[in-house]
Symmetry: D2
Subunit: 460 residues, 4 copies
């Protein structure tokens, strides 16, 4: 007798699709079988049952100068949950003088009481002094075993020497690296040039961050990581040229994984040419690219060259926040919403369109994000003993996307007016129903911190 049984669904995992029941006990998956008996039964006939999705890359209530990203830990995780995501990984960013462990504690304190799903935290390493690097093991022990490195952004970026020091420290301790790769100086140069020429509109954003300079940073990072023999994950790869640099590194037997995002698969640079200031909605880094880049990312995702799809969810209100950059595109806060729409978009444009198998869909949205960051098999899988994070997904439900109906706390949706075909209708987190018929029914603060584990020698 299980606490709860999700019965008769089409169970979809990275391994296979099968018809059956999922038995839940004590918040964990206790059994997968048929004819399971539970105190409570959720009928999943005609539905897909999949592991709760894992979004390895979100920025909730993130300070950005005088602004803060518009989804806080509650609204953001509610939106995630409604979209079928049951674990997010956000970021802890140490302030000057603050230790990594203190930063982690501080960020956890911000999240506790607010998050509605489980969450992990990447530790941002924006300095490479001896003391900071000496704290890497303590960060790992405290549950932040993955580290965000920036090659762009003034306050955050690491120069090549610092990158080497950090990569070597991560290699020594099994820390995982998630890297934002763009050439900072080229962006600064091109931005200054644009502004000097009076080109201030959002359409200048992509022009100042060309794909070639993302690929340059990828190429450079992979050369540096080769020196230190450090596996790395490339955050939000957006272009074919960057993927080509990854292939070159793999050709020298290097370990590198690639994250992309739905926006790079589904949108392209023509969005920047919307009338007026509308392009600001799509100001993010890297920027949206060409159709050929989109095709290359889809193909790479299908072929296994791209490993995970995260969202880089980082929303700002169009009406009141994006407008900071009305007179200067470089002051537009960068980022866009997405945490709620990932799973349905990838189903509609991936599985339905024949680009991805159901297995690959679950793999890149659930299983691999968890594995890549040390949350597997507790998260991202439907294996016995795993947290009972489940999504009941109606493959026939058609949902028009609109910021008015989505739960993300922001006044626009990049996919406004699109219709997805297939949608989560019921979501469980550790066995508890938190979304029913598309609405959040849980309580704020129920989410827990999940530590990320360091790398094993197998690097997988």
């Amino acid at each position: 007798m299980f606490d709860r049984v999700v019965s008769n669904g089409l169970i979809v995992t990275a391994e296979a699709t099968c018809r059956g029941d999922v038995g839940i006990a004590d918040g964990r998956i206790a059994a997968i079988g048929t004819g399971l008996v539970g105190r409570e039964v959720i009928d999943a006939s005609g539905m897909l049952v999949l592991p709760g999705a894992v979004d390895e890359h979100v920025h909730l209530q993130m300070p950005l100068g005088d602004l803060i990203s518009s989804d806080d830990f509650t609204t953001g995780t509610v939106a995630a949950a409604c979209g079928g995501t049951t674990t997010v990984i956000d970021f802890a960013e140490p302030r000057p003088g603050q230790s990594l462990v203190e930063a982690l504690a501080e960020r956890r304190a911000e999240a506790e009481g607010r998050v509605v799903i489980d969450y992990g935290l990447h530790m941002t390493l924006c300095r490479a002094d001896d003391q900071t690097l000496a704290e890497v093991p303590a960060s790992i022990e405290s549950g932040a075993a993955s580290f965000k490195l920036y090659m762009a952004y003034d306050r955050l970026r690491l120069g090549d020497g610092d990158l080497l020091r950090v990569l070597a420290a991560l290699r020594a301790h099994g820390g995982r690296a998630l890297v934002h790769a763009e050439n900072h100086h080229a962006i600064a140069y091109l931005t200054a040039q644009a502004l000097a020429e009076g080109r201030t509109g959002p359409e200048n954003h992509p022009r100042t961050r060309p794909a070639l300079m993302e690929a340059e940073a990828v190429h450079r990072l992979l050369a540096l990581a080769w020196l230190t023999d450090t596996p790395v994950v490339l955050a939000h790869l957006s272009c074919a040229l960057g993927l080509e640099a990854v292939r070159a590194a793999r050709a020298r037997n290097q370990r590198v994984w690639v994250e992309t995002c739905p926006q790079y698969l589904l949108l392209d640079e023509q969005e920047y040419h919307r009338p007026g200031f509308e392009g600001a909605k799509f100001v993010m880094a890297p920027p949206l690219r060409s159709e050929a880049d989109r095709a290359a990312l889809w193909a790479g995702l299908a072929a296994g060259e791209v490993d995970t799809v995260a969202t880089d969810h980082c929303p700002f209100f169009y009406a009141t926040q994006k407008t900071r950059g009305l007179a200067d595109f470089s002051r537009i806060p960068g980022g866009a919403p997405g945490v709620e729409t990932r799973l349905a978009l990838l189903y509609t444009y991936g599985v339905r369109s024949g680009r991805l198998s159901p297995q690959r869909w679950v793999e890149v949205c659930c299983t691999h994000p968890a594995r890549r960051f040390g949350l597997a098999p507790r998260k991202g899988t439907l294996s016995v003993g795993a947290d009972a994070d489940l999504v009941i997904f109606d493959p026939e439900r058609r949902v028009p996307l609109s910021y008015r109906t989505l739960h993300q706390n922001v006044d626009y949706c990049p996919y406004e007016g699109w219709e997805v075909h297939g949608y989560p209708i019921l979501v469980l987190s550790r066995g508890e129903v938190i979304v029913r018929d598309g609405e959040f029914v849980g309580t704020a603060g129920r989410g827990r911190f999940v530590p990320t584990a360091p790398m094993e020698s197998d690097g997988d």
Copy 2:
């Protein structure tokens, strides 16, 4: 109450590793959970429990001129079973004038009554006339939905025009392509040259089949498959240059998968320099390559660039069959044994050495071979409803490899004297124990033909 329960093992699948029981009923996996109750219990404490391995590429009792490969359908499948493989895919090769469906029936007749595990059959397409291509749908309907194409070997090979016709036909009907890619003419030229110069020993075998000419064939095949938009699987890729050609095709968004074999991962060309005629033991096509090639294949396997590990098992007795080529290396029957040792070798040199995660090990040996050839989820997975093909694998068992103790019907082992660390100790096929403590305990003829399914649009 299940028929049988494998209890308390460490269940390892492509998705995750978890501790639990596997419940079996009616020859199928009925449940995965804990505390499962069965009429019979197999205690798997301390053991790994994985899906029965799938070997997509074996040649049992294969005629080769006046010879026949030395493992028949019984000895070969017994050896497979003892090594943890519960499904093999062999080949049906139509004789001149024989229809595809007749060839399939004839080959099935040879296997029936003999095979001890389930088996599928690839249909060899060695001609491309209209009538043969018109039979492709019938072959698929009859359960042979994958097709072997040869670019080398006199009697079998297809020229580029025929390849195009075949690839187009497969594309039209969802047939799967498994292609042997080497440049036939270069081999013939180099062989004639070697013999004309009196170079007759087995060390000339690799010199007449250079890696560049395998890569050339891969490159050409992928160009042709691009024209017809046909996904293909490359059989037994052996070299870094070939993998580079695959990367180039993926860079133009082409769908291609790669099979390699344990021998290309573990052995290299120095074997051909053994004293006397010993090199003949390693005469196979493609030949063993360099250490750098080995490293590239391991890295590609870990990175997901290489998809499956099959054996190309095709043994000939060293003492009595390989000797056909004593005076002329080109008459040495090509092929080597391997069907029994794959799983343990990949565990020892893959998982134990840190090159592969347990998930990846199962994926490349079990799950992906089944998926790639339309046998999933029935084979290669531990999902509910799948055939209860299971391997109980003792991760600590040390087994010295020797042809004397292995079950393959051949008088040598390419890995003679090597020790593997981890070995199957009990194997179930459709719920029946067929190997116990390393010895086959089933009955000949119990194996069944499993049809391969054609491709879905998602190509996965």
Copy 3:
């Protein structure tokens, strides 16, 4: 006292540009200097003085089934001369049963008495039997040291095995290889497909000869040539993908040179979409490609990756010969005129547009073609002792191109209506003025056979 002095011109060679006089004696260049005194003085003030151009690839009075290319040895060489070309290399093609030396003699007999400028002959090797290969040294001794190999065309093409045999023979004897690289079988397949679908117009010509299949043939050829260590020249490279294959070969330290043609630099595939049957005027092999291909060829030419610009001149009358393919594009005789316009087009669109330096212009049109085929320094240079083949080129002369005014014996010009800026106004061959103010003033039959020399070890 020289026989003749070309005085006061701007002498342009592959080495440098300088102001000076060229003194001619006994049909050879006797001196370059200033203040030279001659019995006859040609004032070249304001003019460029360059070596007579060398066109390494022309097909005059070439039989093609029931047709013959429309320029005979007289009209074709008159046109060449008027365009500033003082040496052409045509082809000798042995008939079945005919020896190479006989074929050479027969073709020389066709040319003698007709040609108005000096000419060489490539020997076409369309078979690879032992006897033919044994004749290679005799061909070289008889003055045909370069050999044309075809990978496409039914009657002419060599399979890979034959290619290897031929390449090895050329390597042994220093024979030079000029290779037409396209995948014959893919062309045949696509052509049959087009015709079967009722697509019969000339716009189908490029669709049946895709760039990828030219690149495939280049890649394959270079792999084969690597096996035999034979340097090769790629005839009429038309696409960026082909150039990429060349780079890959150079990356493995292979010797390969590249010829392209003005049509691949200046025209693109949109010509095939002209109304009616007009696209037939541009039916040639390889076909015209994309704008991106054009750009890649210009860049490669400037960078030294592409070595020579020849014309592949092979005209057929639009009104009466191209029409053979009215109902079937594959029967359109392939080829276009060009021998007369090369030098002026390359000056206008190369030098004037800033793509090429004057040195590079002369190098690719004059010096390198002669060097690549063993005619240097006698041809293609302005060095002392060289044949006094000179072009007096007016850099300011504007000439509208039209088949009505050009001397090529054909009823259309691919560049009809274009205007070139810069044109030959006076041409000398072995010291004799043969073109004056744009019109031929010499006599038919004055041209002589110039033997091509085999390769030296330096391969240059």
Copy 4:
């Protein structure tokens, strides 16, 4: 009646080889012909006559902290002259606060009165402030139209942003860029690591400057230059990976030229494993590489992918200067002698070994260095009106190389004990014999500054 005639030599230029006389008047080449009559005749029977070689990259009396490179403008140019080099390009390096034009004037003042052959100066741009960039046109007008940019070395290097600013300024004004490409931060990191581990010997020098990090810098530079559309010359390319990055840039139609040096063609990393401190003799940046790198550079030089061979001559006494780094390899002054041996080494190992044609030898040592830096046709050619800088080269003279007999002011020779086969025996500079039978017979201070010209649109 010429002032002087070099008679009856085998004249070797980038264009051709011919037998003839060179007539000289007023220090310039007045004629090339036969039977020329001069007041003075130099019999060159049996000799090669070529343009004086141009060494685009030398560091004479160069301050390096407390040291100064050991050849001053007199000893260095005497050595150059004795080796057949009649023009060198050294560097002007502005001190902090000093304008470019002042730096040029100061460096010219150091050279005047000392140099024995003509010389140019690259302007080192080690800062990118607006004022400095505003001085670029003045530098060009003053005769320094080429600019040295460093990506490594603390005091000299430009970050990516500064590189962009400089490259854009050069593009605007036609300034030529010569770039030292190595990743500074990686070198610093690896050096600190080596020293921290107590690895202080010269064998650590190459380990701290891996080829991959040179290739990284090349790749990055070419990405930046792509943004600004600036042609660049890569200084002293040393490795195959760097050449691969060049090919990738050319594949996107970018203009880039490559310089290499004899040491990278002829020596390899095993020199660093000489006993004791001897490896210090070969400490230079980039370091010597592998045999495979050497082969790739030779092939690239023959194929036209590498454009020029310069020396980077920068000698330091082994006994008294290199010893600065006895306890710390990173303090070994970097550089080696070479200005005297280039032409003979390239003849012996290039032309005699069949790797280069005589034309290519002259092109890469004489003609292209002059053309690439705006000294053509005055230097590097044997064209009428060019400076009468000539080398009479005895192709049969065998000369053992030793620092004892060479004129370079340094106590070792990297090629000590090697024998070259072919050597300059007489050298003319502007018509004056300055080297006779291997010894300098001119006067110090006779050399003149030759301005370098900016780029033309043809970029050649």
